[in-house]
């Protein structure tokens, strides 16, 4: 076939193969994303659009009764981020380092460490709910048998412990993920550096702190950004364990739960506020977008070439 013939066939082929995928993304992702923004500038009755509202929906979000809900949800998201981020980073690096030290059996323990990541949060949520059941849950039985605490702890039913308990459950499901990423980061470190340091008499701890930890920076960037996004869009686990109101008594309310209630109504009232909900959606998107971009920028600046 002549060159021009191939070129022609390629041209036809290009658009034939690209169009279906691009069209699907445009219709079911891009257009809805852009429309969310436009929704926030209109009055709504149920799912019917009314007149132009200017920034009224955003103002509403910051006045009674939404203001206090918004601030409490934002506080919870922030706490969840800090809690998950700290424990997961320290724990993930610790587990990854332990795996790294193990030549024999690394694969076996790695497979187990990653195991919970494949579970649906629905299953994880209900499984832990029964483990933490105040009346006949194994955790409470063990605690009273060991004599640490008598009587039944409420865990997910107590406003003080509900959020930390959910954070723990989230960690159980997720810590294997950063562990694998940190392990890949450790395995990618040029062993000549480590050998050289060892010959110079550096201790294991010094090698970790001065060489390995700085070289883990790229893995750290990825884990941090993913955790930030996940924490500020936190929905599944609090919804499964506490319903759309973030029970008990809103102690586990999050921005995404509030967004859901405003969009589709809640257990208490089926009335929804599409305009205010969309405004909240835009704000969550801004928090996540700006936070992740800035965070990635700062973290990337401390990455060094390994």
């Amino acid at each position: 076939m002549a060159r021009s013939g191939i070129k022609k066939e390629q041209n036809r082929f290009t658009w034939l193969l690209l169009t279906p995928g691009i069209l699907l993304i445009v219709i079911f992702t891009s257009i809805p994303a852009i429309t969310t923004l436009s929704y926030s500038f209109f009055h709504w009755t149920g799912f019917t659009r009314g007149t132009y509202a200017g920034i009224e929906n955003f103002q509403k979000l910051f006045t009674f009764p939404f203001r206090s809900q918004f601030l409490s949800a934002l506080r919870h998201n922030t706490l969840v981020f800090i809690g998950i981020y700290l424990i997961q980073t320290v724990g993930g690096i610790f587990l990854a380092y332990s795996l790294y030290q193990l030549r024999k059996g690394q694969r076996f323990f790695r497979t187990i460490a990653f195991f919970p990541v494949i579970f649906s949060l629905v299953i994880v949520g209900y499984m832990w709910q029964s483990l933490l059941n105040p009346f006949n849950g194994p955790i409470n039985i063990l605690i009273s048998k060991l004599g640490i605490h008598s009587g039944s702890l409420l865990w997910l039913g107590d406003t003080k412990t509900a959020l930390p308990t959910m954070v723990f459950i989230n960690l159980w499901r997720w810590v294997g993920f950063p562990t694998i990423i940190f392990l890949a980061g450790l395995n990618a470190i040029n062993s000549e550096y480590l050998e050289a340091a060892r010959i110079d008499g550096a201790s294991d701890f010094q090698i970790f702190r001065k060489i390995m930890f700085p070289l883990l920076a790229p893995s750290m960037t990825i884990v941090s950004v993913l955790t930030f996004i996940g924490a500020f869009e936190w929905f599944d686990l609090p919804f499964i364990l506490g319903g759309s109101n973030g029970n008990p008594e809103g102690a586990a309310d999050t921005l995404a739960l509030m967004f859901y209630r405003l969009s589709f109504g809640s257990a208490d009232s089926i009335a929804n506020e599409v305009g205010v909900g969309s405004a909240l959606g835009v704000i969550i998107f801004l928090i996540v977008g700006i936070g992740a971009t800035l965070g990635a920028k700062v973290l990337r600046s401390r990455e060094v070439e390994g």
Partner: protein
């Protein structure tokens, strides 16, 4: 000597971690094999005589097999569409040079940043308008659109990595572009297809949010969404509850036991370089 102590220390850490991971799952399986009253008396006892009746009860109740079938339809349908579209677009973006290519790549990359959850309201209204609410097909299209940007990105990387000589050799042998793609290149990007399949299918199988919003008809519900209804229905019937959870968890557990390396590689794709 010191070496041995540190080795044992890290081994102990990993054993404790393994117990933390496995004991709750073991508790789930064990409790699924116990009669409810027996469980209520003491939850922490081994199921010496497995009480299989919990499983038959859940299965014969009728909705469980339907949920499973629906999940298979939705996940399978989405997966097929995702693979077809990402092979096509990945091939074109990875191996051709054409006008507007960078624009398309930029568009695909932005698509990866849009959180589908926050666009749920317009999507809901749009699907209603398209008569795709309460439909598996509608759900499949939404999942496909959500997974495609990452899938296209991964596939174009795999296509780009293949040597250029392959194309020229095939063309000299008289292969059309379609034959080149199907016969020569697709067999060579199979590892990429496995990654895309796991990366996109597992979150779809596990998801309950989109079905929660888009599917109201009980006969259409997926397994994870169905579990929430199931949990309300079987309150305090522990045996059946645990059997239901076990049944829902089992398919992925079995697959993970068989393909753990592919699962780890697939699910961390995009987060781990190389």
């Amino acid at each position: 000597m010191k070496h041995l102590i540190t080795k044992n220390f890290f081994r102990t850490v990993l054993i404790i971690n393994a117990l933390t991971v496995l004991l709750p799952v073991f508790f789930l399986f064990n409790s699924a094999l116990r009669e409810t009253n027996d469980f209520a008396r003491n939850p922490l006892v081994l199921a010496r005589k497995p009480y299989w009746h919990n499983f038959t009860k859940v299965w014969d109740d009728g909705s469980f097999p339907i949920y499973l079938k629906n999940s298979l339809i939705v996940t399978g349908g989405s997966l097929i569409l995702i693979l077809i579209c990402s092979i096509g677009a990945g091939f074109v973006l990875g191996r051709y040079n054409f006008k507007g290519q960078n624009l398309i790549i930029g568009f695909v990359l932005t698509g990866m940043l849009i959180p589908a959850k926050l666009a749920i309201l317009p999507l809901f209204i749009q699907l209603k308008w398209m008569h795709l609410l309460n439909s598996h097909f509608g759900l499949i299209l939404v999942y496909t659109a959500g997974a495609l940007p990452a899938a296209i990105f991964i596939m174009s990387g795999f296509f780009r990595a293949l040597p250029a000589d392959l194309d020229n050799a095939a063309r000299i042998d008289g292969a059309s572009e379609g034959q080149l793609l199907r016969r020569v290149l697709v067999p060579l990007v199979k590892p990429g297809l496995a990654i895309v399949a796991i990366y996109s299918a597992i979150p779809i199988w596990n998801d309950f949010f989109l079905p929660l919003v888009f599917l109201q008809d009980p006969s259409k519900k997926t397994i994870m969404q169905g579990l929430t209804a199931f949990f309300g229905e079987y309150q305090s019937q522990w045996g059946a509850l645990f059997a239901g959870l076990t049944l829902a968890a089992l398919p992925l557990i079995v697959l993970y036991l068989l393909l753990s390396e592919q699962f780890i590689k697939g699910l961390t794709a995009g987060a781990v370089k190389g």
